[in-house]
């Protein structure tokens, strides 16, 4: 082995065995804080986020303390059942409910998505019905198609009729 190759190998070994940054003092402190947070019993948020499980609260708290699209998207991907509970508690206003409904549609749990969002197709606000259709469009079954055909034909809102038509026309 040449001296150059040996030198490179030694240097590489030193890098490999040196303390990586992730184990520095700051990282250890953060890890301890995270451990303490995980051990904390039931941090509770204000309604409607009080419907969240402890695990979901820990994921949300610190980033968002109120309903918003960012929180809904995180919940949809990691805690879809919690997001469904938040939607079902009826604690969300119209502007939040429409985006929570669309976000829940990103979950792969089609049964949960349908059972949570189909009731919203009869919501008095067209803004909520439109969001529910966007949430449901990847979870169509025969029964839902029939319901959407009804909305496409007869909903009082042109926006809802268009959204229903679009969801049925998806290739």
């Amino acid at each position: 082995m040449s001296a150059l190759a040996l030198s490179l190998k030694t240097s590489h070994s030193q890098e490999m065995f040196a303390s990586p940054p992730a184990l520095g003092t700051d990282a250890r402190s953060l890890a301890k804080i995270e451990q303490r947070m995980r051990a904390m019993p039931g941090v509770r948020l204000a309604p409607p986020f009080d419907a969240l499980s402890d695990e979901a609260v820990r994921a949300v708290v610190g980033r968002w303390n109120r309903p918003c699209e960012g929180a809904f998207e995180l919940l949809a991907l990691r805690f879809p059942k919690d997001l469904a509970s938040v939607i079902q508690t009826s604690g969300l206003g119209i502007a939040d409910l429409t985006f929570a409904a669309e976000a829940l549609g990103r979950s792969h749990l089609s049964h949960l998505v349908r059972s949570t969002l189909v009731p919203l197709l009869g919501h008095p606000s067209a803004i909520v019905r439109e969001g529910a259709i966007y949430g449901l469009q990847r979870h169509l079954d025969l029964e839902l198609r029939i319901e959407l055909e009804g909305l496409a034909a007869a909903d009082s809102s042109p926006a809802v009729r268009a959204a229903a038509e679009d969801s049925l026309a998806d290739p």
Binding site: C68, E69, I94, S125, P158, A159, V160, A163, E165, S167
Partner: protein, 161 residues
């Protein structure tokens, strides 16, 4: 031109409702730099197709564009993504200083809302994208073949081969 998040919000003519549905960011704060595209009428379908391909809109649906011409606030040039020249170069942010500015802007637009509405049918968007792929438009080919291509785009690309 600004593309609506919820078409139904613009049916209400309720300024508070429009503000809360259309002008909040992902963290729930009012958006004091709302995005618009400075484009010609004939570029609306192209702009929405490119917007839908790059924004979290999946699959694209019939869109509602609202013409924001004549709003009394300055427009800031801000590049809109990297993939498409049109929406990159024509993207602007309306510069607002406060929630009150935001409400004034919405009120201005709502005064003659019916004249400002531009409907973009979903079929027109799909037709446009299919046409660009068939014409081997490199921007569309690149995004359709990228690892993070959306399913709807992959389906159109498959059909266009």
């Amino acid at each position: 031109m600004r593309f609506a998040k919820r078409k139904a919000a613009w049916e209400t003519a309720d300024l508070g409702q429009i503000r809360d549905v259309e002008f909040k960011d992902k963290d729930g704060d009012y958006d004091l730099r709302p995005s618009v595209y400075e484009i010609d009428e004939k570029q609306i379908v192209q702009a929405f197709a490119e917007h839908a391909a790059t924004a979290p809109i999946d699959p694209p649906r019939s869109a509602l564009g609202i013409d924001f011409s004549g709003v009394q606030f300055p427009l800031l040039r801000k590049p809109g993504g990297k993939r498409f020249a049109l929406i990159r170069e024509q993207h602007r942010e309306v510069e607002l200083d406060s929630q009150s500015d935001l409400e004034d802007m919405i009120a201005t637009v709502c005064r003659d809302l019916s004249a400002r509405r531009r409907d973009v049918p979903k079929s027109a968007v799909y037709k446009y994208v299919g046409g660009q792929l068939e014409a081997a438009d490199h921007e569309w080919i690149d995004i359709a073949e990228s690892v993070d291509a959306k399913d709807w785009l992959k389906r159109i690309a498959e059909r266009s081969k």
